[in-house]
């Protein structure tokens, strides 16, 4: 047993060293600009105080947290405790720990929960902390919109993603269709042909599982692509009769069982990664629109029987799409602000060596985008993403992406979260034919007032 422990520790240590070496290697290969590896800076200096341990509360993603924690321990000699839950359970876990008076140094948030966390006093601004100004200068436009709240910077970026379509190339060839759809009408035509020819019983797999950006994100993206939004600049809803959002929902609902019956019923359950895995079974023609990094599952030979045959595709028309950045933040329940800031930088900024180790690692290992311009413009993305998809095509889509808050500005409001609960319920009822798209939108309009009263 002791041997096992040593073996594991050795492996971890090797990984840490490997990670550091890889980061250093990337720097020496010219992976990015000088912004990516600045050894001399506030990130390389030890905080004045002393702590025995620090902790972070995050949602799970592979083994990135154990790796970065080991690196922090190796660099600074401070033990890191981690509390890791699933994405959907994370707000609950964080809230419970905070309410119970536990110490939390660093945590993370989707943009949808973030205003709520800030309003409830969980988050500390970081503007005045050493090195923060340099990070802010390097923020992408998405990151600025998520991380800035009432004029203060409240976090550092975790990852960024844009919404894209996927298609199963071999199935398209079998259907003798030379290229994927360019309009929504063509999309329907392709799906109907696939169904009629017996090539696919359910040609399209949507991400319509309950979540903050799963089902809602699909609706936001298609509405934005068709030229609509959910709220105008004054915060008035745009869900009334004839609105783009309402018409988009009608189109979407019509693809389900009580309409054209081309949508995979599993759509109502799947999240981002599970939908990529389900698509990997090779039973659907199209999957989308959702986070671009699903390609690293659908095109991974270890996880997908059709690996290498899943292609990325842009949205119809001018190709407008949406994007998002998730953030790490400094908790107000921290045990030592300077040390918590140091840990926050390891997760969402630079490590001691001046590299964006975590952001580069996420790009290479998980195909995630970064909230820093310097990382997005670097070879870490261009080369790191290459095994899974057409990088220039995805980056072109990236350029056409608007932050999700421009489509649905309620994400900046604390009532967005309870309203999203209702969005999930009403839209699923629409997709399953229990109510019409008109009823759904009318209910959601009424629901705005209810959600405001819930906070």
């Amino acid at each position: 047993m002791t041997q096992d422990v040593i073996g594991k520790w050795e492996l971890s240590r090797r990984r840490v060293l490997g990670g550091v070496a890889a980061a250093a290697g990337l720097g020496s290969l010219g992976y990015g600009s000088a912004a990516m590896a600045q050894a001399a800076g506030p990130w390389s200096q030890a905080p004045r105080g002393r702590v025995d341990r620090l902790n972070f509360v995050v949602w799970t993603y592979g083994d990135i947290y154990s790796r970065i924690a080991k690196q922090f321990e190796a660099d600074w000699g401070v033990k890191i405790d981690s509390t890791i839950s699933s994405f959907n359970d994370h707000p609950t876990k964080l809230a419970t720990m905070f309410a119970a008076g536990e110490k939390i140094d660093v945590s993370q948030s989707s943009p949808f929960s973030f205003p709520n966390f800030i309003e409830q006093g969980l988050v500390e601004p970081i503007d005045d902390l050493p090195g923060a100004a340099e990070y802010i200068k390097d923020f992408s436009s998405f990151t600025k919109q998520v991380a800035t709240y009432k004029g203060k910077t409240m976090g550092l970026p975790y990852f960024a993603a844009v919404w894209v379509w996927n298609y199963y190339g071999e199935m398209l060839e079998k259907l003798k269709i030379d290229k994927p759809f360019a309009t929504y009408e063509e999309f329907i035509e392709h799906c109907l042909k696939a169904k009629k020819d017996g090539v696919s019983r359910y040609p399209v797999l949507w991400v319509a599982g309950v979540g903050l950006e799963q089902l809602p994100g699909t609706w936001y993206q298609m509405t934005w692509n068709r030229g609509g939004t959910f709220f105008d600049n004054q915060g008035n809803h745009m869900l009334g009769p004839g609105s783009v959002a309402r018409e988009t929902l009608k189109f979407w609902a019509n693809t389900f069982e009580k309409g054209l019956d081309i949508s995979d019923p599993e759509s109502l359950k799947v999240q981002f990664t599970t939908s990529a895995k389900a698509f990997g079974a090779g039973k659907n023609l199209y999957r989308g629109p959702n986070h671009h990094y699903g390609l690293n599952v659908a095109n991974d030979p270890a996880q997908s029987p059709i690996a290498g045959k899943v292609k990325v595709h842009g949205s119809p028309g001018d190709g407008k799409t949406i994007g998002v950045t998730h953030v790490y933040f400094l908790s107000s329940a921290n045990r030592n602000k300077e040390w918590a800031w140091k840990l926050l930088q390891y997760l969402g900024g630079r490590t001691k060596d001046g590299n964006y180790t975590q952001a580069v690692g996420l790009a290479k290992d998980a195909m995630l985008g970064s909230g820093y311009n310097s990382v997005m413009n670097s070879d870490a993305v261009k080369q790191g993403w290459a095994p899974w998809g057409d990088v220039p095509a995805i980056l072109k889509m990236w350029d056409k992406a608007a932050y999700i808050g421009e489509v649905c500005s309620s994400v900046y409001q604390p009532w967005h979260f309870p309203w999203t609960d209702q969005v999930n319920i009403e839209v699923q009822k629409t997709l399953t034919g229990q109510i019409t798209a008109d009823q759904c939108c009318d209910n959601l309009i009424k629901g705005i007032a209810d959600a405001k009263r819930k906070i």
Partner: protein, 309 residues
């Protein structure tokens, strides 16, 4: 001084009345229950009439807001829907459990059938499975395209197209009842089986001598003598079914739409999802607890009978 000591000794030697002895024996349990159960219940009641969010919990200051939480609760359409779904779920699961428990217990009570001994052991297995694991197992079984259930039905020629058991609003709530019954049924079987073993054999022998049929023996002897244990099962299973959560979390998460929102899921979402309204969550949990208490009283009043032989 010695007289006082002698009086004390006499007090200790005096025989304690049965009532006082019972009280003393129950006292430690009562204290433990008061600490573990009564305190949280009373505290939840306190929270239900206060404005409690994360910030207030952290500060420990809760502004009093009267019955505001209850008013908002009763105005919420989703709360009433969750209650309706909870009643449907409870009615189906508890009804099925009682009937199945009696039937299966009668079967495994047959000592002349040697396999009943094996069945007695096997029947306990589902009870040993953690509820969340049970939910996950069944979510795989129900999977639309790759699920075990659809595959069996398809292979047996019973269906030509897969059925979306947990994803169809018309079947989802019923689909969740099956895993719940599967997990909790062994408990009810055990209770009924124990009660069956307590019924004197002579009663059946006398009835047989009098020419009673098997059905008459069951209806006139077994069922009346099982009434107290059935009342216990009804009370326990109803209170647990009212608070069903794990299967909902693992299989449907309340969906599709609001088809499987039940009361405990509602309380959980209100409390632990931003904006973390602990006050309203406590209010909804309190309403649920009062309903469970009322149901228990109804069972005791109408089902429980003192058994006299």
């Amino acid at each position: 001084m010695s007289a006082a000591r002698q009086d004390g000794r006499r007090w200790f030697r005096r025989e304690v009345s049965a009532a006082r002895f019972a009280f003393l024996m129950n006292l430690p349990t009562m204290l433990c229950l008061a600490l573990v159960l009564a305190y949280p219940v009373i505290y939840a009641g306190y929270l239900s009439v206060h404005r409690v969010g994360l910030a207030q919990l952290r500060r420990g200051e809760f502004p009093f807001n009267g019955y505001d939480n209850f008013e908002r609760l009763f105005e919420d359409r989703l709360f009433w829907l969750a209650l309706k779904n909870t009643f449907t779920f409870t009615f189906i699961t508890v009804g099925a459990e009682v009937v199945l428990a009696v039937l299966i217990a009668l079967l495994i009570n047959q000592s002349s059938i040697w396999t009943s001994r094996i069945t007695r052991v096997l029947i306990l297995l589902p009870y040993a499975i953690p509820p969340i694991a049970n939910g996950l197992i069944w979510s795989f079984i129900y999977s639309f395209q790759f699920g075990f259930l659809n595959r069996i039905l398809f292979s047996a020629g019973m269906i030509s197209e897969p059925i979306n058991w947990a994803g169809n609003p018309e079947t989802a709530l019923y689909a969740v009842t099956v895993p719940y019954i599967w997990r909790t049924l062994p408990f009810a079987i055990l209770l009924v089986h124990a009660a069956l073993q307590g019924i004197p054999r002579e009663l059946y022998e006398q009835a047989a001598v009098d020419g009673a049929t098997a059905w008459q023996r069951f209806w006139r002897i077994t069922l009346p003598l099982l009434r107290p244990i059935i009342a216990v099962i009804l009370i326990l299973r109803t209170s647990f079914a009212f608070a069903v959560f794990e299967e909902i979390l693992a299989i449907t998460q309340g969906g599709p739409g609001d088809a499987t929102w039940v009361a405990a899921w509602y309380s959980y979402k209100i409390t632990f999802s931003p904006p973390n309204n602990f006050g309203m969550g406590s209010a909804s949990a309190y309403v649920l607890a009062l309903l469970i208490g009322a149901m228990a009283l109804v069972y005791v009043r109408f089902v429980y009978r003192r058994v006299t032989l």
